[in-house]
């Protein structure tokens, strides 16, 4: 199976910027595609899991990088 990984760089954007950028990227993607979301908004730490629950997509990983920014890995489900 071919899995495409997309990177969505939403660094510097505030709420709801990262989620909107992610949702727009997901729109044209295939189910099963992986997304790497990069963000600096501290609100994304609670917002990305909430978004995943609301939208039914799968949050595979959430980490804080060395520079203090955040990286999320999401799998498009629907």
């Amino acid at each position: 199976m071919n899995v495409t990984t997309h990177t969505v760089d939403a660094k510097g954007q505030s709420c709801p910027g990262p989620l909107v950028a992610l949702a727009r990227a997901l729109k044209d993607a295939q189910a099963g595609d992986l997304f790497e979301l990069l963000a600096t908004d501290p609100g994304s730490r609670s917002d990305v899991p909430s978004w995943a629950e609301l939208s039914g997509n799968e949050l595979l990983d959430a980490e804080t990088l060395e520079d203090g920014s955040f990286r999320y890995v999401i799998r498009k489900v629907a």
Binding site: Q13, S14, C15, G17, W51, L54, S55
Partner: protein, 190 residues
């Protein structure tokens, strides 16, 4: 003992059927809520139209149905940016002068300071890269949110369909707005 056991079920069968029927009728009347956010955008000030557009956009971005019903001062936020004076009589015209159209011109309900307040707000928003209401309006529609103007307030305020921005649904009335809210899991009045 034996006679009681034999009589009890037969005596209650008709009653039981009646109760099932009543329950079914009750269930038929119950509303099934959708995974949907509906906002009544009543306020047109910047500190109202901003959260309205943030929530509508976020709901749409989360795969929820999202609809916004624009009424009263909220309508001025969806007037086309270039449109100046609207309305046919002096009252409607005066109203449009007091409420310059488009989300870009929305005033702050507090600390407006003749426009200095919104300018500072937007400077902060730029610094923090927060999308502005007018940007959020187009993002929301792009993500499938439905923006619906209120027909009655359009008539009252003298706003025509051509005065309003593109991408809106057909104007509706209060009953349709209530129908929108009735099946929405979340409905807000902002």
């Amino acid at each position: 003992m034996a006679t009681i056991e034999a009589e009890a079920p037969t005596a209650s069968l008709g009653d039981l059927l009646q109760r099932v029927e009543a329950l079914e009728a009750q269930q038929a009347k119950q509303i099934t809520k959708k995974n949907k956010l509906t906002i009544i955008a009543w306020g047109g000030s910047l500190d109202q139209i901003w959260p309205t557009t943030i929530l509508a956009t976020t709901a749409a971005a989360s795969g929820m149905e999202s609809s916004v019903f624009f009424t009263f001062w909220g309508l001025f936020a969806i007037v086309k940016p270039g449109v100046r004076i609207t309305g046919e009589n002096w009252m409607q015209k005066m109203m449009s002068v007091m409420n310059p159209g488009s989300a870009e011109k929305a005033k702050l309900s507090h600390y407006h300071f003749a426009g200095a307040g919104p300018a500072m707000f937007k400077k902060l928003a730029d610094d923090h890269r927060v999308a502005k209401p007018e940007e959020l309006i187009s993002l929301a529609t792009d993500l499938g949110a439905r923006l619906i103007p209120c027909q009655m307030t359009m008539d009252l305020l003298g706003l025509k369909r051509a005065d309003l921005i593109e991408g809106l649904e057909e104007p509706i009335g209060a009953a349709t707005a209530i129908a929108e809210m009735r099946d929405a899991a979340i409905s807000l009045f902002i």
